[in-house]
Structures are given as C-alpha cells and as structure tokens.
Point group: D2
Chain length 345, copies 4
C-alpha cells in the first residue's frame, strides 16, 4: 500500500503514521517529493488496512497496490485459466459453454420440450428457474420444489446437467439434489450468508455480477465461495446499471477480457437479462462469443408469448438451432468451440 | 397501462393485442394518432402485466401509469405522513430522529461510553453493529451475539432504543431480543427472504437503499415488509454509486423530497457511509436536515483512530454535542425538532 | 403525448389542462381509469411541448410517445439503412468500414508510414488528428495546420479518404480542404454551434456519442446536422461513463443494434478510446463487428511507446494486417464485408 | 507519480521503465515488495506523463499523486478561499450569493418585473438567458441580442449585476457589453475553445459542471480559464447523470464540501436544473445553503405556466421573498450571509 501525505503534513504527522504502521509489524519506505511525501508500506495488508489510516492527521489518501482477493486471482494459477468438468462437459479454456433453457419452469411439457430442443442443438447445460427473485412482492415467484422435480426429469431424459438458482439458504438441500450448477442472482451477489454456504456445499456456482458491482467486488464475492474450499465458480456478466434508459441494462463486454486477465475463473455472459428484448439477444450473444467469453446463458421458450415471466426476452425454441450455429461461428473467431459431452469424449 | 403500438403496426396486430388484453378481463381504449396507435388499458394491472406484451408483434413499448407498490404509496394515507412511536420516541412528521452510535460494537467500554455520550446530547436512538457485512471475506465481521449483549446493556443503562443490523435470517431470534429497530443494509435491500421474515416479525425496520436501487425499487422492497402486516418501515438514503471517484458514494438528497411525495413512510439519511470521511459528515448532516429528512443515522466513536472498522468516517464522541446542536438548527429550518423521550411526553 | 393526471386531480384541473392543450390547436382524448385520468394528445408536438404542462395543477407526468427527432429516424426511410459513398468506398448496409490511423499526426514519417500500412491491410478510411481536445490545458494539443498538410500528403500518396477532428468552428476552412469526413468528439456532441456549421458545410460527419449521452440525445445531436441539409452523418459509440473504474470507459455495444433499429444512419464503434489499453482493442473490435456495427475506428502507430499521445491504446502497425483479418472474420459472422475501393468497384 | 509493476515483471522490464523515466530528467525511487515492485517518480509530471507508460512491458498501472491542476488548487492560496467583488457584491468566504432571474429573457415586462422582484428580496445577482442551448434543434433558442438589450435595461433600472450564458465564441463581444458574469453551460464545460477565449476576456465566469464530469475534470476545465490570467471563476454544481429516473438529474451536494477542500474558487449550486420541478427547488436550495455552498442560482418567473422554457422548474416571483428568507436561514446555519450591495458597504 502507498500512503500519500497531504502537501502541508508536518514532520510529526508523518512520523506518527510511520509509528502506527510499524506498530503492527509492517515496514515503511519513505519517498520525499518536492511537494509531498509518500510512504510505501511493506507487510501484512490486513493489519495495515485495519489501522484505517484514511482519517489520520496529515494523510491525504491510501492507494492500495495489491488486489484484495487471492484465490480468485490469475497469479495463483500463474496465468493459466481454470478448466472444470461439469457432468462430463468441459468449462473454460477453449471450451465455450452454451447454457440454455426457460427463464422459469412452468410445466412438464414446456420444460421437457425445451430441454430436448436445446440438447438437440448442442447446448452444453440446461438452465431453468424454480425460485424466481422478483422486484414486486405481487409477482409470480416460481414453482419451487415442483419446479426442481421437473428439472430432475429433464436431466433424466436428456442427460443434460442442470443450472438453477438458489435464493434462500433454507432451500439449499432440495436444490443440491438436482442442480449441477447453482446460480446466484445479481441481487444476491453480496449475500454473504448464501455465498459462504455455497462455498461449503462444494457444488459449482454461477455467480452473477451485481447491477452496480465493480469487477473487484465481483471477485471479492467469489472469494467468499473459494475460501470455503469450493474451486468451481463461474463468473457471469449480465448487464450493469447506467444512465441509459433505451434498454434495461448495459451489457458490459469490456468486463470479459479484463476479468480474464484478473482471474483464472471462467467468464459467462447473460445477454437475455441485459437486453430484456428478444431481438437484441442474438447480436449480443455473437458479441459475447467474439469478445472471448467462456460461454453464454440464454433463455429459450417454446412459445414466449405465453411465458409466465420474461417472455419478451426468451428466444423461440424453434429458432434455437440456427441461433446456436451462429454463436458457434462467433466463438470460433475467438478460438473456442461449443462444449458438449461428445466434444469432451 | 398504455400500450404504444409501432408506427408500422398492422390492423391485425393491433386487434391481436386488444384480444389478448380483453381475454384476461381488462378493457382497452383505443387512440388513433396520425402516426401511431395507443391503447389505454383499464383493469387489473397484474393480469395484464403477466401477458408480457413487450414482445408482441406490432408493440413498441408499454408505459405503466400506476405505481407497482400500494401499501407504501402516499395515496393509501391520503398524503398524510406516518408517525410511529419507538420506545416512546416519535418518528416522522415534525419529529427529527437523530440516530447515533458506533459503526461496530467493539467492547463494553466503547459501547457504553458512546451510548452515554449520545444520550446526553439528546440523540433519539442508539445504533451499533453486531453483525457486519464486509466486501472482503478476510475482514472483521462483528462480535455477533456478544455484541448484541453489549447493546442490551447499553439500552438498560441509558434507556435508549436500539438499532442494529440483521444479515442472516437464522440470526433473527437473538436480534429480536435486543433490537427496537432492525436495520437491513444496502446490499440486502433486495434479499426478499430477509424482507419477508422481517415483515412477519413485526419489529420496526430501517431499510437502506441499495447502491444502485431506484426509488421505485426501494419502495417495492418496503412493500415486501408491509405486505406481511408490518407497518413500521423507515427508508434510508445512504449514497448511490455514480461515476464520481472523489468520494465513496454520492449522497442523493433529491431522493428525500421525492420519496416524501411518493410515500408516507419516514425517510432517514445516512451521511457517514455515503461520505466515508469524517470531515464531510457534518455538512452532509446539515444538508439532510435542511432538505426535510425525518432523521439521520451517524457513526460516533470515542476514539475513531482506534476503531476496528470505518474509523475514518466516525464522528468523535467528544464533539458530538456541538454537532447535534448544529443539526437541530438545520432541522428547525425545515420545520422539525429532534425527537427525544422528553419531547414525546 | 399522454398526460397522466394525479390521482387526486380535480375535474377543474383536468378541464384546465384540456383547455390549454386545445388552445394551441391540438385535440385531447380522455381515458377515465378507476384510479386516475389520462389524456391522450393528438396534434403538433412542438406546440404542446411549449406549454410545459409538467408543472400544471393536477398533472402527474407527461409521457412522450413520438420520438423528438425526425430526419434521423428509421421511419423516414421506411426501415432501409442509409448507404453513403465516401471517396469511392461504400459506408453502411453490408459494408464494414475499417477506419484506422494514428491518434495524432506527429511527423511525416509516422503519418505516411502508418497510412501505407493500413492501406495495404485493406482499411477503408485513414484517420489522424491535427487538433486534439485534452482534459488538461498543459497537454499537447496537436500540430494544427501542419498536421492537416501531412494528412493531405498521406491522401495523395495512398488514395485513402481522410477522417480528422474539428474542435473550433474557426478552423473549418482548412479542415474542409483535407477532410473527407469531419469528426466531432464526444465532448463536443452537444456543441450546437459546431453541429449547425457542419450541417451547412455538407461534408460527411462522424459524430461521437457524449460520455453520458443517451441514444436519444445522440440522435437529437445528429438532427442538428441533418436539419441543415447534410445527410451524411455516421454515429459513433466510443464508451460511456459508468461506476466501473477497472477500465477507462464502458463500451456500450447494446447501443449498436438499438441504434440500428431507431435510425437509418450507419453506426461506427471506437474500441480504442473506450478501452484505453491495447490488449483490449482486438477483443472489443471483434465484438463490435459481431454485434453488427457498420464499422470501427481504431488507432495505429508504428511505435506506440514513442507516441506523443494515447500510446498505450494504439495498435502496433506491424500487427495491423493480422488484426484486420480477424476483424473481417467477425464482420462476416454478422453478414458484412470490409469496404474498400476495390470492393465498391 | 507511482509506477506499479506487474507481479511477473522481469528485472529487464523494470530497468527499461527506470531508463525511460530517467531519460526525461526525472528520478526514480524503487520499492521492492514481497510480491511486486513500485517505482516512485520524482520530477516534472508533464514530461513523465508524455511517456505514457501505461502500455509499457511489465507495467501494471500508473498512480498519479499530484493533482493535474495548479492554479485552481487550494494549495496555491494556502487554503484561503478566494473572495471576489462583482458589481460591488462580495462572492466567496462568508458571503452567500443568491443569483436569481428567469430561465430565458422573453419580454421587457417579464424581464424588468422579475428583476425588480428579486432585487427587492435581496438577491445578489440577476440571471437571464439570451442564448439557450437546447437538446432538440426544433426548440426555442433564445432572443439573442434583443435579449441582451433587455438585460442591460434591467441592470440600468435595478443596479443588479448580470449573469448570462455564452454558447458561441462569435457572440463574445455583444455578451461582454452586458454581462458581469458569463455563464458556461454544462454541455460546454469541455469546450476548450470557449474556455480559452473567456480566460482572455477577463470577465468573471460561472462554469457549470458537465453532466458526467468528475470534480477533477471540472477543475481542469477551470484551469483553462485561469491559465489565461482570468482569476474570477465560480464553479457550479447543477446535477449529475445517474441511473435514477425519478428526477431529471441527481444534485451532488457532496461535491460542495469536497470542492471547497480541493480549490479556493467559490462553489455555487443550481437546484432548478437539477430538479426540473418547482416543488423540489426550495428543499434543495436549503440543503445547498446548509452544506456550505457559496451561493445558489435559481430560476424565477412572474407566471411560470406561461414561460417559454423550463416553466415547471421556475419559482413563482410572488413567492420569491419568502423563499429568500428561508434560504438566508439555512445559509446562517453554515455561517454565511446573503451578499448584497448594502452588505458589502
């Protein structure tokens, strides 16, 4: 860490800061500039952080140098990306995960029908929501355990691994019975209770970036999971909140190459929720694949006009195979191939 | 709701939308403009919303007219603000709540000392954290139940009602034993599990606005609590995330008069977390009082340099009485008086 | 336009609004809901807008239905995109414009060298700055007319049309002598003086989106140019300002398909300024091409480490041909081909 | 400046950076941490900045330590605020400037009537727009020179100094004939041509913060004026663009105390444009005064319902005296008094 002293800091103030830093066992390295003094601090970051020197007399600002997360950082794997296997499908590296399925599990017919469609088109994982976070308390909140049962049936019929969301730590057990990947929604990205429990549960987690979370905060949130010994975290960019009102969220594709430099974890993109409109899903999917994402997660419905939730953004099941082909072409430009069971074999 | 059709929508497309809307029991009212057609929809909002017509052929956009929240709205009380009583102190109306105490409960001496200081200066409620949400998993997370015990002691000694944060629904019982007001932090504003349980618990709730939550989302979140029958919700503006990096968050004081028009619930401001710097806390507190807030919640510590967390933003206990006097002057300009037990008597 | 009345608006207030609207020659269409009244307004938008009814007694809000821009809208060309020809190169439609060159014209060798490199790699237009807007008054501000002279020489040698920025309306004449396309920077997007003069000058304009401009504001700005009779406007997304600090700006690729629905004008993407880092330029360029942009504008330098400005984001000239090939592959996925003189022939 | 090297930077890369820095005459100071190396750089900031080392091999990031602006900084006046005199009224220090008048000069009656009203209520300066920047090219753009003539008449009748906006450098001469303070609008904050000319003109300037400008950018913009020898710059916070759509802009009052720490220049707040709604203007004005602003600039109209522009946000002239009295009370809490000719005498 660097401690930048104010231009009018006195020698006594500078010495007091040095004493406090050295009092917790760190070393200081003083640089006397023409206009101000900077102290380089060497030693345990946590100890120095706890001093909270931002408010100390004569201190202008603290400049952190090291990243606050460790297990999520690229350095820990010397720049090598993590490659996982989920239900026999490879995730990460040159493998592109095409994750598809309905927003919400509504009925047996809708769920199994969609599962067969996306399986036939070569999707990697099947997604479907049994528990739905909704802005309004008066909206539909998912089928719950009945929804989980239908997902289990889809998995049994098609062999596809399941991605589904968990919102309440008290639902962890039934979700663990079905889910191959547990999704944490954007609004729960900093629900530390949930993150810690998922770290302990050990099942792969797809962690969505909060609407206004910085990449550093996203990586810190993943660290809550990793710290408990669960190494299988997939990060997911799903659109951030900006001033623009012409679309629901602003998909932040710059986050993809930047995350891939900062962390070894795979980076997935969710173009459906960002856009909120079906006609934007394909162009944004192609862009996500071309920018180098490790996969995308999209919503598909046999008849979106009749969907209980998020109909306007769900792809039409009949058009999914053509869409998947285009996505595969864009992924190829970035040097990746859609991951399937066959591909892994 | 208004349904704006595209300029090139066909008569068939318009008719199909009319049929779907009327199929769920609502009525449509058609306006044929020179360039496009608009359909006014009368009837149950929820039924029409579920049609999710945004994606239907020929539809340009849906324009909601009514607010999605009901119990939180001003209309439900015909424009009269809610006035609560918490431990004998009035909250809302012309009463200004000065809520003060340490960021974190650290020790018996620090907690009781601060409680006596703020009580003597005429504070309304005493705040202190036993459970602390932290961005990094490696940071200090609070004393937990031991912290709650110290808060109970502070209450027994000073008679001040207690405000403390709940993060994990599994800690609800011990928190209920001590807290007069349960605080929900910004990162949990849309933790619907927690909101629903607090609605059922019936204890007053101080609900902080999420870092990037719109006022409508904040009111929707309060509706989760109100819907369960708990009428005692205090909303709290604590700074939003913007592009500016010169300070931690941007305190959004425009939210105060706008919320007071939209809802009957009291509106509190937290200048400490927004600013993150002690020297900004007093000017922002005066501004919050002058803009018409129903109270402020601030952090105070006997020796902030030694605080375990958020030291740089905590007010110095010795200076609190002078600060409280200035805040009272600013509240007076907005027609409010700091609320105390004596004032209520 | 729709005028939404407050829930407690009186009959007199509603009638007063109707009278004012009809007083300027528009018609009203009244919808009486259970909870409130909405007035549909038919007639000249400008006249009604000037009434500024937002503040009138009983009015809750105004909801505009029609877009405020006309000449830029898709409707005016019935959904057909504009295709221009600039120096024999086609812009728009299935043509992808690869615009490349140095950030700043620094010397004869650097300018001509880069021009030959990008010409050989099949770039569509040559860009280079003679006048540079800089945040600090103490920074380098470009070579001015000497820079323009070097651009003219590059054009004479390579035949490539020139894109260069204009900041001061008093420099218009010398810029017109060289520029085939005049660039307006993000900070000048709402410099209405400049926009109007460029509308009159008639030369094609590349108009960059302001750092926090909505798409509607960008289209309104283009309307200032179009209104003067200049039909050749290229819109340019170059990154918006958000809360994220991990990169300079957040490239908003969702803007591309949304703009292409709203307007017939070509949409170009500038990945260099958004990212501010060379290693991000290629992934973002591929994403821009895959999302359906009509072109990209990138910075190239023979030796970026020695560049006078923006060195860290400039592509290395020696690597440009390989880069251009990848961009061509990504454009192909979106159905476009890099536009060259040969391609147009 | 600090140069943070990457964790895997080689000794050769570090040495190459040292060589480049020392090659422009600066000195380096090396700190070898356990995980990475940091180079402190001492010497001419501009020279080192021009190296643009962000992209150099082995460099992680550059951390600027000194502020890029000089003449605007607090240090240059050793923490003393600037106090100006404009038409005999003091601006800055303990003087609170109440600047009021119509958004747009519409007619002789409206202009003179408002001028007399605000003068009688003790306003400090009179504002009125002759040239109006408008988002749409089809909107009203002001009376131009005829408007300036009416402002001159208002000044002659009431003795109040005039604040009016300049948009086009070609209008500078007629504006100089009337204006005591020249206003630069938010959209022109980085119109460097205009800033430089105003620096040369020497007349006091009220410089509005851009919609998404950081405080550092605002201070850099003021530096363009100061650098030309014009010391009389008033900074103006007028609301920033955020994700919130419940109001037009988010008034950033945290900027006031932070600017007052960073610069000696007076800081004015414009609550009218931020809010866009009359009912918010008084609460925000009181907050601005309480937070420690050096003044506010508000819009007043004898009959806002008939105003040509911005009617909904203009205060009603008849209510201005009562409003001014409340503002004076709030300013008093922050230790300031409304500045008038009498007060200065």
């Amino acid at each position: 860490m660097m401690i930048v002293m104010k231009q009018d800091a006195t020698e006594d103030e500078i010495q007091a800061v040095v004493d406090r830093v050295e009092g917790v066992g760190a070393r200081t390295h003083r640089i006397n500039g023409d206009e101000l003094t900077v102290l380089g601090v060497l030693g345990d970051r946590e100890h120095v952080m706890r001093l909270e020197l931002e408010g100390a007399a004569g201190v202008d600002k603290l400049v952190p140098i090291l990243k606050p997360y460790k297990l999520a950082s690229s350095q820990i794997r010397h720049g090598e990306p993590s490659v996982f296997e989920i239900g026999g499908r490879k995730i990460g590296g040159s493998n592109f995960a095409l994750i598809a399925g309905p927003c919400t599990v509504e009925s047996r017919e809708q769920t199994l029908g969609t599962a067969h469609t996306v399986a036939a088109a070569g999707a990697t994982l099947f997604r479907g929501g049994a528990y739905k976070p909704r802005t309004s308390p008066y909206a539909f909140h998912g089928l719950g355990v009945e929804g989980l049962r239908l997902l289990a049936e889809a998995k049994a019929e098609t062999g596809m691994p399941i991605v589904t969301e968990l919102m309440d730590v008290r639902d962890l057990e039934p979700v663990l019975e079905v889910a191959d990947v547990i999704q944490i929604g954007a609004r729960n990205m900093q629900n530390y209770t949930l993150l810690t429990e998922l770290g302990r549960a050990g099942r792969p987690v797809l962690l969505k970036r909060g609407l206004s979370a910085t990449l550093e905060e996203l990586l810190n949130a993943s660290e809550y999971i990793l710290k408990e010994g669960n190494e299988h975290v997939l990060l997911c960019e799903r659109g951030i909140r900006t001033f623009e009102t012409a679309y629901r969220f602003t998909l932040d594709l710059t986050a993809v190459p930047v995350l891939k430099e900062l962390t070894h974890l795979p980076v997935i993109v969710d173009p459906s929720h960002a856009a909120g409109r079906r006609d934007l899903v394909q162009p944004l999917s192609l862009a996500a694949a071309a920018v180098g994402a490790d996969g995308i997660i999209v919503e598909v419905h046999p008849n979106p006009d009749e969907a209980i939730c998020d109909g306007p953004q769900q792809l039409v099941a009949d058009e999914f195979a053509a869409y998947a082909e285009k996505v595969g072409q864009a992924a190829a430009v970035a040097g990746k191939t859609i991951s399937t069971l066959a591909a892994a074999a």
